[in-house]
């Protein structure tokens, strides 16, 4: 109580409405607020809280209507407008930044009020109730306001229910899925290699060479087969007749290339005997 006195005194000069003994019910930005709008409950802490309390003009209007148990369908525009204006004035006086929507609503209310005040002409046209649109909006908003409140009561993860977490056994290993390789990636790599081959060795790689190389590998595989402990085979067994002339040439070239590279040797145990292809004896 003691610390409130200087505040009241300090604001004495600024606020004309204020009487000397009246304590402000709120102090905002150094200014004391002593008047509160009728029927609008304002928590004593700060007006900012009030502003945050309402989600907009519709919310404020709904509050005023519900507070006084007005019938929303038969909205008493005059008292509601007065109360609404009081609130808006209060907010303006306290220099709070007031959302434009509040001012728009104020003018809507004023317009409805003036239209209701107009002398009722002979019912020449069935004019709609000027309040109808506002009533509809208020109802629509109230439904959503209510739905949001309900939504907030539904049991929610992290707040009301917690999800079970179970560790995997220590010996657990995830299945590793092999990397996909695109043929174009392989070809790009091949191009890089070919460029290097040319740069380092000036080789001319021809298409033919490859199938010869493939055949060379095949021959080496046959000779190194574990089912072939002696590591040799008959020269004639390396040719497959249904491959035709080209196949024979390729195989022959492969054998020559392998001999040249000392990867295989040719053995003939007796004259006109079968030629054997074998791994060189080391």
């Amino acid at each position: 109580m003691a610390e409130k006195a200087p505040v009241a005194q300090q604001n004495n000069g600024k606020s004309g409405v204020m009487l000397q003994q009246v304590l402000p019910f709120a102090v905002l930005h150094g200014e004391a607020i002593v008047e509160k709008p009728q029927d609008l409950f304002i928590p004593p802490d700060a007006l900012e809280i009030i502003l945050e309390m309402f989600e907009g003009p519709l919310d404020l209007l709904l509050y005023l209507i519900r507070k006084q148990k007005f019938d929303i369908l038969d909205l008493p525009i005059a008292p509601i407008t007065t109360q609404y204006m009081n609130y808006v004035e209060l907010m303006k006086d306290s220099k709070l930044e007031l959302a434009a929507e509040y001012l728009v609503m104020a003018s809507i209310l004023a317009e409805i009020k003036s239209r209701l005040l107009l002398p009722k002409q002979a019912v020449e046209e069935e004019e709609a109730d000027p309040r109808a649109e506002l009533v509809r909006k208020l109802q629509q908003y109230e439904v959503i306001k209510n739905a949001a409140e309900n939504l907030d009561t539904i049991p929610r993860v992290e707040r009301d229910v917690f999800i079970a977490k179970v560790k995997l056994a220590d010996n657990f290993v995830a299945k590793v899925v092999d990397t996909d390789v695109d043929l174009t990636e392989l070809l790009a790599a091949l191009q890089g290699v070919i460029k290097r081959t040319q740069a380092y060795q000036h080789h001319h790689i021809q298409k033919e060479a490859l199938s010869t190389r493939e055949r060379m590998a095949k021959i080496m595989a046959i000779l190194n087969d574990t089912k072939n402990p002696q590591n040799y085979c008959n020269f004639s067994d390396l040719f497959t007749l249904n491959e035709g002339k080209q196949g024979v040439v390729v195989t022959f070239l492969a054998i020559l290339e392998l001999i040249k590279e000392s990867l295989i040797t040719c053995i003939q145990t007796h004259v006109y005997g079968e030629i054997r292809i074998a791994l060189p004896q080391s």
Binding site: E55, G56, P57, L58, D59, L73, A99, E101, M105, R136, K137, Q139, Q140, Y141, E142, V143, I144, K145, N146, A147, A148, E149, N150, L151, D152, I154, P155, R156, V157, E158, R159, D160, V161, F162, I163, A164, V166, K167, L168
Partner: protein, 187 residues
Amino acid sequence: MTADKFRHLDIDDDKLTRLVEAALFIADKPVSVQTLKRELLIEYRVSNLRIRDIIKNIAAHYQGRGIELKKVASGYRFQTPSELSTDLAHLYKEKAPKYSRATLETLALIAYKQPITRSEIEDIRGVALSSQIIKTLMQRNWIKTVGHKEVPGRPVLYASTQEFLDYFSLTSLAQLPELMPLAELER
């Protein structure tokens, strides 16, 4: 029957129960019958119906325990019964995030009136919608954009997601609390 070269092994109910139960516990999101069949049980000959029966038995097994098997929008998951929440909250020093009324109203509008545009939301709430609210809801994966409304400006249309339903332990939008009855509203 599909001739699937993978599905060749038989599995007895006991092992199936153990595998499904383990899978439901270790997953970091709800698990559907399809996921169980397609991923966990890829090697086994087992029907959706049988998996569903097994799940039903597991759920029954956990009746009245500290954890329950719950069906949510994107599948099944184990979670604590909500009646234990007060006691369990002691374990969690970090409080669950609180959402403002503006956020909840926006979420409610999107959930109940989807697909809906930003200006439709603003119109019903009577105030401008801050971008931060949409951003928060998007980051939580509770809402998503589902195209544009064919009106001038082609505004984005928002809808709710499965994660939204999962978060609130709902299986479908139909489970949302009914809107306040106001006959006058729907003209």
